[in-house]
Symmetry: C2
Subunit: 488 residues, 2 copies
């Protein structure tokens, strides 16, 4: 059942009583289908504040609508839209969409994630955890040059081949050689970002009941893309270098057509990096187990000192690894272009399923990326981005030292976006999340990346201004101290 949100106020200049205006407003919303049967109204007190009227006006309006059978007072939920409201409102039949919404087999995002997706776009909100680059860090000059080049060409914007624009796959193939990955254009599938890549893998390769093995904390757990497709998320024992599946009982890995998902480089959310020996060890173990690895290399290019170890895919000479890449983190998420690398028959199968779901990624975006890669503008941008991110990281580490030294610990990431903040006392609950939201500070609490309570918070230095980060972190430190009863 949804909680309705009201962004309307009665008009005091009208010659109609406020209570009647409110009644008509509520009827109108129900009649139009914007409020559904079972939707919960705010409390009378909240309504009075939201609508800017006295509580007695609210009591009068709700009383009238309840008498008419349009609203219903329930025990526990408060006032809700009544089951038989339509018969009072309209003579024609009205479809019960609630039934459809509840019946779709893809479940809704968990409330915290829905709230994050929504509040990110609220004005004045400070985003401490947003996993994308700020518009300042995007190469606007390079984009301008590419748009200009495109304006002089006659770029065909027709449907593309199932695997995506050939020119882009070829340019990517050359680009990936620097990482030691040698693939032909038939071993690359262009997708609309790595989330879609995961969805295609779920639909095309994994069956219901198969397992997706992940680190204890994992970006994949926040996504639900595997779970809602009928797969089970199975945590793997993890140490400072990454997953150690060999520490577990051998029969833990017996589920049919399962896969191990890992972010070896600048892990989301922990910032961890897997060293070369561990990568080899993991690949060897998975190969023996006949367990494919899905490697997510979204942050690979964003190193601050030395380049990270070569990707697991580059060590794979037997087709055991699928590798996901994207321009969402290293360039701009609005481009919506990523890729999957894997053995030819697997890529062909994934391309066929992609044709069944959306006919491919935007050709405009794909041509943009061909230009950016071929011109070298992309690599030039990366050099600049690494410097900027490193400087942001250092600034934020300074703030943490100032406001969190006595109440939390954290890592110093060697690249990527994330600092993994661990509070000394367990706290990040939904209550904490909402208290921060009331103070206009939005975080990604650790619990959205795992299955249980967590004392972690994912911070990101990539998005907000340093000024906002400072204010937001100060606020968060104060809220934590308050919740801990001043005993921080």
């Amino acid at each position: 059942m949804g909680k309705v949100i009201i962004e309307w106020r009665p008009d005091r200049s009208l010659n109609i009583s406020l209570a009647i205006q409110i009644e008509e407003f509520i009827k109108g919303r129900i009649n139009k289908g914007d409020w559904l049967v079972g939707d919960v109204l705010p409390s009378q007190r909240q309504l009075a504040v939201q609508l800017g009227v006295n509580r007695s006006t609210i009591v009068s309006a709700l009383g009238e609508l309840t008498a008419q059978g349009i609203l219903e007072a329930t025990v526990g939920s408060g006032t809700v839209v009544a089951n038989n409201s339509w018969s009072f409102l309209v003579t024609k039949e009205k479809l019960n969409w609630r039934r459809y919404i509840d019946c779709g087999f893809h479940k809704a995002n968990i409330p915290t994630i829905q709230a994050i997706n929504r509040f990110e776009f609220d004005e004045g909100i400070i985003r401490l955890s947003t996993g994308e680059v700020s518009p300042d860090l995007m190469p606007q000059e390079a984009f301008s040059r590419v748009y200009e080049a495109m304006s002089r060409e006659r770029i065909p914007l027709n449907y593309l081949e199932p695997l995506g624009l050939l020119e882009l796959r070829e340019a990517l193939g050359r680009y990936l050689e620097s990482d030691g990955i040698r693939v032909g254009s038939k071993e690359i599938l262009i997708v609309s970002g790595s989330l879609q890549g995961m969805q295609l893998i779920a639909l095309a390769l994994l069956g219901r009941g198969s397992k997706v093995f992940v680190e204890e904390y994992s970006y994949a757990k926040s996504l639900k893309v595997f779970e809602y497709s009928g797969m089970q998320m199975a945590p793997v024992i993890t140490d400072k270098k990454g997953p150690t599946p060999w520490m577990m009982a051998a029969d833990s890995f017996d589920a049919p057509s399962s896969i191990l998902y890992t972010i070896p480089t600048f892990h989301n959310p922990t910032g961890r990096i897997m060293d070369t020996p561990r990568r080899r060890e993991l690949l060897d173990w998975c190969r023996k187990k006949q367990l494919p690895i899905l490697e997510d290399e979204a942050y690979k290019e964003l190193y601050f000192e030395t380049p990270p170890p070569p990707s697991i895919k580059s060590m794979d000479d037997s087709g055991n690894v699928l590798s996901l890449g994207t321009f969402s983190k290293s360039l701009a998420p609005g481009i919506r272009v990523g890729w999957i690398i894997g053995p030819e028959p697997v890529i062909k199968r994934l391309g066929d399923i992609k044709m069944q779901t959306d006919y491919g990624a935007s050709s405009v975006s794909q041509w943009m990326m061909v230009h950016l890669l071929q011109s070298g503008l992309y690599e030039k941008h990366l050099e600049n981005l690494r410097q900027q991110l490193k400087s942001r990281r250092d600034t934020v580490l300074g703030y943490l030292q100032a406001y969190f030294a006595d109440i939390a610990t954290w890592n110093t990431p060697g690249g990527g976006f994330y600092i993994w903040l661990k509070l000394n006392r367990v706290l990040p609950t939904e209550k904490f999340f909402h208290q921060l939201l009331e103070k206009k500070v939005l975080i990604n609490p650790g619990y959205i990346y795992t299955f249980k309570g967590s004392s972690y918070i994912r911070l990101s230095y990539s998005y907000s201004s340093m000024e906002d980060m400072k204010t937001g972190l100060q606020t968060m430190s104060a809220v934590i101290r308050h919740l801990q009863g001043g005993k921080g």
Copy 2:
């Protein structure tokens, strides 16, 4: 099991026998994972032709590999990659991807559709049925002006709100008013084309076992997006004006959370148009039945004489209709931008699911569309496109008169892309499809739009040059006459 394709020939300049080169080539492909266990090799005769060697060389190479246990001769399928081939090839374990490909619960496209998706990109092929505009019909000048404008702006390419770019939803809202549709920005969801719109509806609103009611011939049947998500396609009795569900037993419509899918304007594949009284009748009946309508208006703007009847959505004052729109047909499919209109809670739910599958459509494409709509360039383009399509339609009708008058009948579409050709004698089978392919002519046979044999062929005058259409139709006419034993 796949049939392997060989695009390699041995090198006669090397000091290595041809048979050994072929052996090493085959081992290499299997070792790399490009050929999977169970994959079928071409016949010895075909191999000799493809590799440009004598048949005796093939016999020698295959014999050696079979003796080594790498290949296997089977009854029926010929030579296949053997189950235990890896143990002979490599010491390390090799993953059996075939098991994964067969296990994914999303099924492969039917072979004819896979062939269409693939052969469309073959050089020299004539495409008689391709449902998209030719690059000539795209407004390249307008695109150039938009890219130029974008090069002067600093367009943010960050993640967008769940419903898509607000500026685009607002521009679309204003544009749709001309069709009598009045919706706010929260009643519009931007999607990556209408196919994705359907996929989201399948995932978010329909449950396993629910039915999707469609006309006897329907674009939706060729898509599999509903079937592979667990829904059942249920044909509705249809006359010249569209579906007539009231002609069927009332309990045919009792499945839970079902939906009726229709293309009321310039229907794909039949070109049919539903008149205003029928639209009202269908809406009234569905409203009484509490059956939502999913209206696909992809071709609405492409009329040749008078504008078509208003969309069913514009007649819907009780939230019974979801309406799909797209720029794929009227502008360029490579933009990958479409939209769904519906009641606010339904749109919100679909937006949440979209965030779980691909985080939204390309921002670049969405900004392009804002520019094209706001500048009026889009409407100017439509005026030109209508004229061009009409003239193409007339030319192709002339070719049909010349080559098909005695063997087929057809309609004269008032808009859209399609002529629905009905052969006087049942013919379009897979054999016919492949015989045409051998002559480099690609068609969409009617059977991909229904569940059974069909004497129809969907022709499209939107894509190929008129010269190619003429050649292709001549070829097709000849092949039909040949298959019918000259008794046309």
